[in-house]
């Protein structure tokens, strides 16, 4: 075993264990937890047996195992970025909807100078 393997494999084992625990405790959705476990297991396998990674790369017509990892990580991080962006936009829209309903619910009516009474224009009662 190389030094790299001695350092990284137990580390990955710990990470996988943490994910399993978090998933069991329902802190992570099972689907997400599963995806992470698959990802880290694949990393562990390719560290433990680099030859396997090279064979997988050759099978896909890529020269080096490291290149396969590079391509996969680029695809992975770009899609993660895109998914996060879309989710952010959805949350943003929901936030605006909430802010809007609070504003309309808590409308501050016109200050009527004449008698100190408050009125909010036509049909204000329908809004309340």
């Amino acid at each position: 075993m190389t030094t790299f393997q001695i350092v990284t494999l137990p580390l990955i084992a710990l990470i996988v264990l943490a994910i399993v625990i978090q998933t069991a405790r329902r802190r992570l959705a099972p689907r997400i937890g599963f995806a992470w476990i698959v990802l880290w297991s694949a990393a562990a396998v390719s560290i433990a047996d680099p030859e396997l990674l090279v064979r997988a790369a050759h099978f896909l017509g890529i020269g080096r195992g490291a290149d396969l990892v590079l391509y996969l990580s680029v695809i992975f991080s770009f899609s993660a970025f895109f998914i996060t962006y879309m989710r952010f936009r959805r949350v943003d829209e929901q936030l605006t909807t909430i802010v809007r309903s609070i504003a309309i619910r808590d409308v501050i009516p016109t200050l009527s100078a004449a008698n100190g009474e408050e009125s909010g224009g036509r049909g204000i009662d329908r809004v309340r």
Binding site: V99, A113, R122
Partner: protein
């Protein structure tokens, strides 16, 4: 059809306009009963000043952008029974007398929405760079949405209740102006343009958009069109 001024709701989106909004509201209130200021999460006295001026105040607890503020004002006005909803900027760049011209144009031109334009009649006080950027924005809108309007980003508009109830702005930031044009086209709204005058005071230029902001506005708009 004769419209009473009580049915006209003036929506004024305002963000940190504490020093200008009182005068704007007072002047509007001398002509119109229903002035709706949407305070877009200001950190100054915008709400209090608007209220002192006699406006109905809606307050966004968080800053959501001008498009969001306008949509809030439109929603409120429609639900309050408005016949016509007018959008009017809080920084004093619009003239109150232009509102009447827009509302009249709705009837005269049998339109559902009337949009102010600084370029229909020769107006010499538009700064040169601003004129160039707006020309480009107008061309950009003509290409992307197919609507031929002479002034893409004029904040002064009047729309009938029927149109106000159908328009729904989803772009919270400044690109909402393009989105309105877009929806006019998609909803087949009958649109008319009315020449209006913009006061480029030192205040409104300082408060307003930098010409460079145009690039971000265009980006927001395109992203929204691509990832609807």
């Amino acid at each position: 059809m004769k419209k009473t001024r009580d049915g006209v709701y003036i929506v004024v989106p305002a963000y940190n306009e504490g020093s200008a909004v009182y005068d704007v509201v007072r002047e509007l209130r001398s002509q119109y009963a229903n002035v709706v200021v949407v305070d877009d999460g200001s950190h100054d006295a915008t709400s209090a000043e608007a209220r002192r001026g006699g406006a109905i105040v809606l307050r966004h607890v968080l800053n959501r952008g001008q498009g969001a503020a306008i949509q809030t004002g439109i929603d409120f006005s429609v639900r309050s029974g408005a016949d016509v909803v007018v959008t009017f900027d809080a920084d004093g760049q619009h003239r109150v007398e232009d509102i009447e011209r827009l509302v009249t144009a709705l009837d005269k031109d049998n339109a559902e929405i009337a949009i102010g334009s600084r370029f229909l009649e020769l107006q010499s006080n538009v700064p040169a760079l601003r004129r160039l950027m707006l020309r480009i924005a107008t061309r950009f809108m003509r290409i992307t949405s197919g609507v031929a309007l002479t002034d893409a980003h004029n904040g002064l508009r009047a729309m009938r209740r029927s149109a106000a109830g159908r328009i729904h702005l989803t772009i919270d930031g400044m690109a909402h102006a393009s989105e309105i044009v877009d929806q006019i086209y998609r909803l087949h709204l009958r649109v008319t343009e009315v020449p209006v005058v913009i006061h480029y005071s030192e205040y409104s230029l300082r408060k307003g958009q930098s010409s460079l902001a145009a690039f971000r506005i265009a980006f927001d708009y395109l992203m929204k069109r691509i990832f609807r």
